[in-house]
Each structure stands twice: as structure tokens, then as C-alpha cells.
Amino acid sequence: MAKTAVQEFTKGLWAEIPPFRLVLGLCPILAVTKTVENGIGMGIATTFVLICSNILISLLRNVIPKKVRIACFIVVIATFVTVVELIMQAFAYPLFLKLGIFIPLIVVNCIVLGRAEAFAAKNGVVASLADGLGIGLGYTLSLTALAIVREVLGNGTFYDIPVFGPTFEPFSFMVQAPGAFVCLGLMLCIMNMLGKK
């Protein structure tokens, strides 16, 4: 282990921030970022799954036979996703109704399986925890950033609070599906420009 836990944590926030650098997990990011509330909710749910699955898979990495590792990873991930779904229904039912199908779909989110296969299966528990936390937080930040742009422009509100006053004509293109693609594309473009040395 050459890198420290802190480095594993911070790489998720910038150098390997999932949707913009790794370009993974695009399905939910396009679908749920209509409002900031949805974006944050989805981000937290994914982060929880990511941290739990990373820890457990890292702990069990020597027990899981190599040949069936993907099947075992998916079982672990699916379990945590169902846990999130149940908890969300019990404590944040309106949010659950809004996110709907995208919560169970975290199971097939490439980021979660990707981190399990590429990182947790090869590294220790502390490093995996840091990695899960970093990537999860990075994912939450990206969802929130995209959701802020889309909600503010498309609806004239921020977290359901109006920001422009009653005279503002919402740019409703931004909250529709094509707006999500355009917005994500522009963000990728900006990230690439900033990343160039």
C-alpha cells in the first residue's frame, strides 16, 4: 500500500470523481438530477451502499473464491441496496416516491461494482473505507452540482426555494431529458479544460 487512506479519500473528490473523470454512473445522474433534493438523496444512498459494500468485500476478499467473485459481490451489493430501500421507505417516504426505480437500480451502478472489483477486492479495510467514502462523496457532489444548475435554470428554485422572484421565466428545457445530456456534456467539457496542464 503505497498511498495513505487520506490520499485514497481525496482522489474520489477530484482526480477520480466518478461521473466526470471515470464517466461512470451516468444513468442515475441524468435521470434524478431534476432537483437538488433528489440529487443529494440519490448521492447519499449510493455513498452508503458504496461504503458498506467496500468494507464487507474488503473483509471477505480472502474468503471469496476468485471464480465466483462477481456473483458474490452482486449479492453483497444487492443486500445493501435493499437495506437502503427499506430504510428510505421507513424514514423518507416522499423522497423514496420521487427516486422510485432508481434506488433498486443502484445494484447495477457501475461505480459500486467497479470499486468492489478494482479496489476493495485488493486492498485493506481502512483503505477501502476511505475509497468508498471518497468516491461516494465525489458522486454526491457531482449529482448536486448538476442538480443545482438544472433546478436553478429549469425551475427557478434552489432546494424548492425560489431564487429569481416571480418574474423569472423558467428555462424548462433544463429539467427535461435532453437538458440533462447538454448540461452533463458542458460540465465534462469544463472539467476537461480545467484538468489540462
Partner: protein
């Protein structure tokens, strides 16, 4: 062969553990999820009907089996007397099934309020069955054992303009509520005594 068996056992053990954990969590959250669903789907309508009650009808509820269907009855306490129940029945509207909650006073069989919960009526026309308080107010104070009909069918209820079928749907649901009430009244009173004692 032994290798195969090892892989097989690994996956089976994983799946069983995951199943066990999920069953436990579902058990713990079950009651809360049920409450949340009631709160956000039926809650607002029940609150509206039971305005001024001194308990929480969502917690204070009975489950009674009516002809193989489980009925949830919400109890309202007014001026220290637990004398009101509300429950959901269904009528056929213009766009499909309409859920209607009817609140009844157990002492004199009078309707204290009617409210639509779920429906798929035309927005702005049939949907007024839910949003127009004047329409629902017509049922207030009448006996639940009356036959309810819209005026065009020779009854006593003014239909919503342009939405006779939706109005019929609500009347139908209230009539059904009357029938259920007739069947269940002795059981309700008995169960309420049991609960208090």
C-alpha cells in the same frame, strides 16, 4: 469436482446470509413503512375529514377482515369520545378506480366528511372531486345508510359540472361504504371496546 462444490457452497452461504439479514431488517421496518405509506397517501385526506380530533387516527387504527378483504379503520376522538371511524372504499370514475375515504359518526351514523385519495380523473374537470371542498361538503351530515345518487339520476348530490361520471364514482364509493358499515358496525364497536379496555 471439489472445486465446483467449493464455489457452490460459497455462493449459497452468501445468499443465505443476505436473505437472513434482509428478512430481519424488513421485520424491523415493516410497521414504520406501513405507517409512512398511510401518512403520505391517505394521511392528508384523513386529517381533513377528522379535523379537530384529539388523537392521531393514523396510529389509532383497527384492522378488520371484511369478506376476505382487510379493512383499515381509522379512529377519531372528538371531545373525549372515540366515536368516529374513517375507512377507504373504491368507486369507478371516468379514468379508472377512485379511492374515497368516508368518515362516520358511530353514534348517529352521520357522515362527518368525505375525501378522495387516489384517482386518475381528467385534471381540472373530474379531479375537482378531490380538490373542490364544496362537492365533498354535500355529503356531510347525511346518514351513511342513505342511497347516494347524483341529481341527474334522481338523487340528492349536485354533480361537478362536466364530470357526472366522476361524481357518480364518488357516490358509488360512499354507497359501498354504507354497505360495509352496515356489515361491520357491530364488530367495530366490539373491537373498539376491546382496545380501550
Amino acid at each position: 469436482m471439489r472445486e465446483m462444490l467449493r464455489l457452490f457452497i460459497a455462493v449459497v452461504v452468501f445468499s443465505c446470509l443476505s436473505g437472513g439479514v434482509l428478512a430481519a431488517i424488513q421485520n424491523v421496518t415493516k410497521e414504520r413503512i406501513e405507517y409512512q405509506q398511510l401518512k403520505f397517501v391517505k394521511g392528508p385526506t384523513i386529517k381533513n375529514i377528522m379535523e379537530g380530533c384529539s388523537n392521531d387516527p393514523l396510529i389509532d387504527r383497527l384492522s378488520i377482515l371484511d369478506e376476505a378483504r382487510e379493512m383499515h379503520l381509522f379512529i377519531g376522538e372528538f371531545e373525549g369520545k372515540r366515536n368516529t371511524v374513517a375507512f377507504e372504499t373504491f368507486g369507478k370514475g371516468f379514468g379508472g378506480v377512485m379511492g374515497v375515504i368516508v368518515g362516520v359518526n358511530l353514534e348517529n351514523d352521520e357522515i362527518i366528511g368525505v375525501g378522495v385519495t387516489t384517482h386518475s380523473e381528467t385534471p381540472g374537470v373530474g379531479s375537482k372531486a378531490k380538490t373542490d371542498p364544496d362537492f365533498a361538503a354535500q355529503f356531510k351530515g347525511l346518514s351513511i345508510l342513505d342511497p347516494f345518487k347524483v341529481k341527474t339520476d334522481g338523487g340528492q348530490i349536485d354533480a361537478l359540472s362536466g364530470a357526472t361520471i366522476s361524481s357518480r364514482g364518488v357516490c358509488g364509493a360512499v354507497v359501498e361504504a354504507g354497505e360495509i358499515y352496515k356489515r361491520l358496525k357491530p364488530t367495530i364497536i366490539e373491537k373498539m371496546k376491546e382496545k380501550q379496555g
